[in-house]
Symmetry: C2
Subunit: 139 residues, 2 copies
């Protein structure tokens, strides 16, 4: 159980977009600054756009901007945008063939835990992470 690179990269991309303060940033520029693989990031940005976390303009001088204020973009939103299976815990997941179905007493527990973890992640906004990141960089 670990946070995958999709979430990490998406977060880094969003931080880079936020850092450009309203000016559209191209995928190429994001990748150059964060040293990330371009085509892969384009994929992830498509997910972020579908989730309405960013909006984009094509063509020359185009790129991405945030579609919400940074305090309205939360970590779990980001995770879901690039990794749509997130938080199907235990036998609540799509097709656990060993789950005992109606007799399985674990469903309730997994739901409870998933909700708690979910809430914890939602506490982290892009705005907060951006500030922390900046603080660290300048010390």
């Amino acid at each position: 159980m670990a946070i995958n690179t999709r979430t990490e990269y998406a977060l880094r991309a969003l931080l880079e977009i936020l850092n450009s303060d309203g000016e559209a940033v191209s995928a190429a520029e994001i990748c150059r600054r964060q040293m990330l693989p371009k085509k892969y990031i384009e994929h992830l940005l498509a997910g972020l756009k579908a989730a309405a976390l960013v909006s984009s303009t094509a063509g020359a001088r185009g790129g991405y901007i945030l579609a919400r204020t940074p305090d309205q973009i939360r970590l779990h939103d980001i995770m879901q945008a690039v990794d749509d299976t997130s938080w199907e815990l235990g036998c609540n997941g799509k097709d656990d063939k060993y789950c005992l179905g109606a007799d399985c007493g674990l469903h309730g527990i997994w739901n409870e835990i998933a909700e708690k973890l979910h809430n914890t992640l939602q506490e982290y906004t892009l705005a907060y992470i951006f500030e922390q990141n900046k603080t660290r960089e300048t010390t």
Copy 2:
């Protein structure tokens, strides 16, 4: 990001062992009752033993018993026992080649989040899960 079957199966095995109330339960018996693949569970039980969550006796009439009281066995312990990479979040993970190293301001954030998630998981003891499970079954 999801809890894998290792954790799920390990938990189910532990519940089954707890349910036998001190009598050793064989891997075969656990698998029969929970309908789990035997060889795979043997693997997981080896992990649980290495983590000192269960102890075992070999030979005829042998099997597994809990090595701690069920309120001392916590969910994250179980996860770590069967999945030792658990909670290396983001670029704190083993070898994120795109991490910017000393200049990466995300390490602190990931640590903070990891600790929160960790704490949430540790709140869930085997004893608690067992009770919840039982309650559900008898309603």
